[in-house]
Symmetry: C2
Subunit: 380 residues, 2 copies
């Protein structure tokens, strides 16, 4: 046994993962080059060697959850992660020019993949797995509907209101709000595929979809102000250097008596980069905010009315997405080849592990410009 | 009319307050020296001249709320406020030596005053004016009981648990939790009067009361770890320089699977001092935390499970306290003289104004050391 192999095995055993073991979360090596790659490249090498078929596990999420909880990613960190940190410090990874990259690389992948994965509605953010009475839901479609309804209720939407959706995706939230709550509104996205789809989805409803960077909103002389603003799963692409700009845009686009709902994944520790594997293959130029970064960035612009954490629901959502997509591969086009499928499985499984280990959170904040007179009571 | 008077009148009119006007929130001047004093000393002069009977208003809280909402305190700021800022920067206002000052000056004032003011239970923090179904309550005693019950439910208290109350006041929360939820526990306070009272209140219950600084908790070799920790209305005395120390103390005193409930007044903007009048007459060495300061200070120690804002309930609580104490003055000892009464009225009215204007918040955070497996659902 090589010294390298023995070192990797020792590290993995700190997380109770055995190489060649027979528990679902144990790791089966298919190519011995795995050991060198994971030592040199850390999480990037772990993900890439999985994509290349150099190792497997019956329960990939179970394995990754144990690695996260043992903080192994901090013990084995390659040069690339350090370089990513330096790069994020020196440049604005989420500048206007760069922002369209994630649109093209991720969100324009093909609506067929997302349609297979996301269920009845194309909603690409965490569902809310409880009904209005707090009872547990058991279906993705119901959980997404409950989430959209929760957002509308938290915002107090009423017929006639004008609503802005920052990062509107395929337009499902605006469609839901228009049909169920009688609002009109505007959605912006930087994905051409999403914008085209959203326009079709919202046809006949008083909804306008714009292919636009959020920084262009409300900057003109003909400022448009909305009665309510929501942003579901888009803040993860904004980047800490732009948080204040983002909140300023929301503030100037919102009426003084309006509410803003921010729905975002959060992380327990303040950092300015994402995992290097995620950055390379899934979400270029993205990063998760910490509570401190959010609180600092919106200070002076908003009163924090409510901060709801339902991160555990993201594990359920991701499990449903993974089940859907595994079932759908045979029907999906051949351009999603075997390496892509392994990449996608690794992405969803690693995300599940982040939420199960409670290293990642799902936050919904309700913010008001001046504080709701008499106080705000947050629905659940 | 003097130039000074005209300048003050102009400033007040920005807040829609008229000198000599006939609306409840208008200001009636009894002594012309008022104008100079308020210009030179800002909020300190405003409060002191009220205590001296130099002015009055039918609705003191209504007047103060208008001043706060017009940001007048920032437009008229005396040298003393600036000096307080410098002093807070250079010294630790909440050092161990200084910490007992607020115990002696405020909390040891006399239990007779607090008994008259606070209602059936001696609970000196914001009530929760809703029942378990979310219906509005209408009595202080019910609101305090609902708050104590909410805290116990959020912490998931069960018979046999050991609970720590950091800043236990007169012991009401521990008594309630022991009687209703079957816990045992420890309370610490830096007020001798509170400690004596709390020992009597909790006699016969498995509750120990200590006259102790929070920094001494869990620092010894014989560390005691608790199943749950609560801290109601004490964090306002900790001071930003000690926030990390405070959270470290809580972390090392809490079992890995335990929950911590932090109940504190919060402010919209990060500062390191309090209002100079409040600092001199009511709470020496206190300061209100911002969301950013809290989030920064507990980062890396806790997962933020829930952040509940019910600041509007503090206005109701303060109104009830004010009504109680105004009714009780004739029965209270003569050492509470007319100037003291005016001081107390100004304190409660200014506090009401802070909450009504939404400049101050009441936060309950639930924090867990590693994240509750499967997620935490916060009761309301």
């Amino acid at each position: 046994m090589s010294a390298l192999r023995s070192r990797v095995e020792k590290l993995l055993s700190l997380a109770d993962v055995h190489v060649g073991g027979n528990r679902p979360w144990d790791l089966q090596v298919e190519d011995e080059r795995f050991f060198a790659r994971v030592m040199v490249e850390g999480s990037l090498g772990l993900g890439e060697s999985y994509m290349d078929g150099w190792w497997r596990a019956a329960s990939l999420d179970g394995l990754l959850c144990r690695l996260i909880m043992a903080d192994l990613d901090r013990k084995v960190r390659g040069v690339s992660a350090w370089l990513d940190g330096v790069r994020a410090y020196l440049t604005n990874l989420q500048s206007r020019r760069r922002s369209f990259v994630v649109g093209e690389q991720h969100y324009d992948l093909g609506n067929d993949l997302y349609r297979a994965m996301l269920g009845k509605r194309l909603v690409y953010s965490c569902g809310y797995w409880r009904d209005r009475d707090g009872a547990r839901l058991h279906e993705l479609d119901l959980a997404q509907e409950a989430k959209l309804d929760l957002v509308c209720r938290k915002l107090g939407l009423k017929p006639g209101m004008r609503v802005l959706d920052v990062g509107c995706g395929w337009g499902e939230a605006l469609k839901f709000a228009a049909q169920r709550y009688g609002i009109s509104g505007v959605g912006v996205t930087i994905s051409r595929e999403q914008a085209d789809y959203a326009r079709g989805l919202c046809a006949g409803l008083p909804i306008e979809i714009r292919l636009q960077d959020y920084r262009e909103l409300g900057a003109g002389a003909d400022d448009e102000r909305f009665d309510a603003i929501l942003s579901l799963g888009m803040f993860e692409h904004v980047g800490v250097k732009n948080y204040r700009t983002y909140f300023e845009m929301v503030r100037r686009s919102l009426s003084d008596s309006g509410l803003f709902l921010l729905h975002t994944i959060g992380t327990n520790l303040s950092v300015n980069v994402t995992d290097p594997w995620i950055a390379r293959y899934i979400f270029p130029n993205s990063m998760l905010p910490s509570a401190a970064q959010i609180a600092q960035s919106c200070e002076g612009q908003f009163v924090m009315e409510d901060w709801h954490n339902f991160g555990a629901d993201y594990e359920l959502t991701l499990q449903a997405w993974l089940d859907n997509v595994e079932r759908a591969w045979p029907q999906l086009p051949a351009r999603y080849d075997e390496r892509f499928r392994r990449m996608w499985r690794f992405y969803l499984s690693a995300s599940m592990a982040s939420f199960r280990s409670r290293h990642a959170q799902l936050w919904q904040l309700v913010l008001s410009p001046r504080g709701v007179p008499g106080g705000y009571i947050a629905p659940r």
